[in-house]
Symmetry: C2
Subunit: 393 residues, 2 copies
C-alpha cells in the first residue's frame, strides 16, 4: 500500500452545501494550532460568541458552536430540551422534519406529527389545532428553511403560537442563517441550530446553536441526565461559558474554529442585512435565467428560499446525467432531490460566497448547454441574457 497526498479538484459548489468556501477561511484554518485552553484561544472563543450573537440577532448568553456538523446541532437541541415521556409537536414539510421525529423518538418522547406537502411552508392553523388537541405538549419543533425543498416557513408566527400554548420551540436554521432574515430575540426562539457550510460559506463540521433563558432554565432543571455526554450543555457550558476558569470537557476542533471565526468576521464586515439582500439579488437573476429556459420552480414564489433553488427536472431528462456532466465538464456541483424528491428536482444553491454574479451566469450557461445537448424541451440560449438583464437593471 502506498497512498499519496490528496489533491481535490477545484469545484464550484452550487448544491445544497457545502457551498464555495471563501479562501480567507481556508487560509485561517491553516494557521498554527494552539491548545484549546490557551488564553489566546479562550479570547478567540469570546469573540466567536459575540460574532455569533450578531449573526443570530440575539443576546442569548448560551450562543456557541457545537464541535460537530449540523446534525449534531440538531441533536444537541433535542437531547437537552426534551425529557423522556414528553410530547413534542414536530412540523414536517421535508426531510429534516423527519429527522426531528427520529430525534424525538430516540429521546424516549412522543412525536405529534403535523405533516405538510413537501415544498409548502408549515401551516400555522394546523399547528394551532395540534396545540389545542395536545395541551400536554411541551415543545414545538420545525424547520425554518427546508434544505430538501427550498421552502421557508413563517418562524415568527409559529413560535408565537407555540408560546401561547406554553411550549418551548426548537428551530432548524441550517440553511437560513445569514441567507434569509432570522431574528432569534425578536421572534423569541428558544433553541436554534444551524450549519457552517451553507450561507456562512465555511467548511462543514461545526454547528452554531443558541438557547434562550427559558431553554437554559429547563436544561438546568432536568429530572433526568441528558442522554448524550458529549452534547450535554450542562457540561459544555463549563468550557464555553463565561466562567473565568474554563474547564476541559472535550478537545475543541481548534482549526475548524479558526475558520468559523473568520467566516463570522467576513459576515460582520459585509453586514447581515447586506448579506440577506445579496442572496435575494442573485436569486432574482438566477430565476430570470431559469424561467427564460422555460423551467419552473418547485416552490411557490412567496415561500421560496433565495439561497436554495429547487428546479423541476424537465420531462424525459435523466437528472443524474445532467449533474454528472456539469461536474465533469464544468467542475460545477448542483444538488439532487432527497427522499421522495429524488429524480424530480435539482437543488441549486446560491449560498454565502457562492452567491455571486459569476456563479449565476456560469451555472445558467452550463445548464442551458447541457440541456440543449440532451434535446430537452427548453428555450435555449436565452438564460444568460435574461439574468444579465437583472444585473444591468
Amino acid at each position: 500500500m502506498s497512498i499519496r497526498s490528496f489533491h481535490p479538484p477545484v469545484r464550484t459548489l452550487m448544491g445544497p452545501g457545502p457551498s464555495d468556501v471563501n479562501p480567507r477561511i481556508l487560509e485561517a484554518m491553516s494557521r498554527p494550532t494552539i491548545g484549546h485552553l490557551d488564553p489566546a484561544f479562550v479570547a478567540m472563543m469570546e469573540e466567536t460568541k459575540a460574532l455569533l450573537q450578531y449573526a443570530f440577532q440575539t443576546k442569548n448568553k448560551l450562543t456557541m458552536p457545537v464541535s460537530a456538523p449540523g446534525s449534531a446541532g440538531m441533536e444537541t437541541c433535542f437531547v437537552n430540551l426534551i425529557e423522556p415521556g414528553e410530547k413534542v409537536i414536530v412540523c414536517q414539510n421535508g426531510i429534516f422534519g423527519m429527522r426531528m421525529k427520529e430525534n424525538v423518538e430516540r429521546c424516549s418522547a412522543t412525536p405529534i406529527m403535523i405533516e405538510e406537502e413537501w415544498g409548502k411552508p408549515v401551516d400555522p392553523t394546523k399547528l394551532e389545532a395540534a396545540l389545542q388537541e395536545n395541551p400536554d405538549a411541551t415543545v414545538v419543533a420545525f424547520v425554518h428553511a427546508e434544505t430538501s425543498t427550498g421552502a421557508i416557513s413563517d418562524a415568527e408566527t409559529l413560535v408565537k403560537l407555540a408560546h401561547e400554548y406554553d411550549c418551548l420551540t426548537i428551530v432548524d436554521a441550517v440553511t437560513s442563517l445569514a441567507g434569509s432574515p432570522l431574528k432569534v430575540d425578536e421572534w423569541e426562539i428558544d433553541a436554534i441550530y444551524s450549519g457552517t457550510q451553507k450561507c456562512l460559506s465555511c467548511t462543514p463540521g461545526i454547528s452554531p446553536v443558541s438557547f434562550s433563558e427559558r431553554a437554559i432554565h429547563k436544561i438546568q432543571n432536568r429530572k433526568t441526565k441528558v442522554q448524550s455526554w458529549f452534547l450535554d450543555l450542562n457540561l459544555v457550558m463549563g468550557y464555553w461559558g463565561n466562567n473565568a476558569q474554563r474547564s476541559y470537557h472535550h478537545t475543541a476542533p481548534v482549526n475548524a474554529l479558526y475558520g468559523f471565526h473568520e467566516a463570522l468576521v467576513i459576515l460582520q464586515e459585509e453586514g447581515l442585512e447586506n448579506s440577506w439582500q445579496r442572496h435575494a439579488h442573485h436569486h432574482n437573476a438566477l430565476k430570470a435565467g431559469i424561467e427564460a429556459m422555460g423551467l419552473s420552480f418547485f416552490v411557490d414564489e412567496e415561500h421560496r428560499l433565495p439561497q436554495l433553488n429547487a428546479v423541476t427536472v424537465p420531462e424525459g431528462i435523466d437528472e443524474a446525467e445532467v449533474r454528472r456532466i456539469l461536474l465533469n465538464r464544468y467542475n460545477l456541483e448542483i444538488g439532487a432531490g432527497l427522499g421522495s424528491m429524488a429524480g424530480k428536482i435539482w437543488r441549486i444553491g446560491l449560498m454565502g460566497f457562492a452567491s455571486n454574479e459569476t456563479n449565476v451566469l456560469n451555472c445558467l450557461a452550463a445548464l442551458d448547454g447541457v440541456l440543449a445537448d440532451m434535446h430537452a424541451d427548453i428555450q435555449t440560449g436565452q438564460a444568460v441574457r435574461a439574468a444579465k438583464g437583472v444585473y444591468s437593471a
Copy 2:
C-alpha cells in the same frame, strides 16, 4: 463591534494534546472544499479507511473516522454496543475511565466499576474477579493509555479475559494510536476509538473508530434503536460503507478529513513500527533530562507511556505559574494534572510531530531555567546534557 481576523501565537505543543501539527496537514486542510458526495471525495474516503486499517492494524471493514472529537468516538462505541439494562464492566484508573462510567449510565445500563489507583495499570486479576462475579456482564471497557496519568494497560490480556467470559470489549486508544504498539486484530479488540490530535499530529475534531465483525453483528441485531441519531452506525454505514451508492447521512467535515488523510499518509511513509520507536527514543532522552534535574515520574517505568510523561511537581512549587512562564516566555505548552492530579503533576507530551530532539532539548532547557529561577530543589544545568547523552549514545 468590530472584531478582526484571529492570528494565533506560534506555540510548541507538548501538553496532552493537541500536539504540534505537521505543516503538511495544515496545508492539506486549506485545499479547496468539495462536496461530501463528490466522486473524488468518496475515493479519498476509501483511501482513508485503508490507511486507518493500517494504523489500527486491522482488517475490520467498519474502520472510519467519526465526524467529531474523541469524546464523540467514545460515545459512538458505547451507544452502539450497549443496550438499556445491560451490565458493563468498566476498568477505571484515571479520568477517562470515569467518562466511560458516565457513558454507560447514560445508555441506561449498569456500570460495574473496577477501580485502580491512578497512575497504575488496570489489574487483570481484578477484572477476572469481576467477570466471575458478574456472569451477566456483556461488555468490558477500559483505557489502553490513560491520558490523565500516562499509564499503559495490557490491552491484549484484558481483552482475552473478557472474551473468556463472553464479553465484548471497548478500548480507548486516544493516546496510544501511533505512539505505542496497538494491534486491533491480533489482540481481538471489538470496538476501539482514538483521537487525531495526539500521536497522529493532526488537528483535533475527528475520532477514528474500528469495529470487529462480532461488534457489528451486535449493532445490527439490537432490540432498541441507538439513542443517538448522529452516531448511529447503522445509518453512518450507509455513507462510510462499501456500498456503491453512498447515501447522505450528515455533511462530513470535508477539510478536516483532508487533514486526517494527510496525517495517515505521513504515518504510512514513516512506518508504524518506526513511529512507535521514535516515541520511545525521545521519551528516553526526556527521561534522562528529567531525572538529571532530580525530578521523578508519577508512573512506574514498566507502565509508563513514552508519549505522555507525568512528572511530579517538586515540593513548594506553584505548578500553574511554571506553565504560565513556559507559555508566555517560551511559547511552550505543557499540561496540568486533571481531577485529583491537579497541582500534583505536569503532563509533558511527546506526541507525533512534537516527538523530536529539538522539542526535548528546548523543553528541558526551559523547564530547568524556570525552576532554577523559582529556587526549586533541583540540580540545575544538568538536564540538557543528560538528554544529549542519550542522543549521542
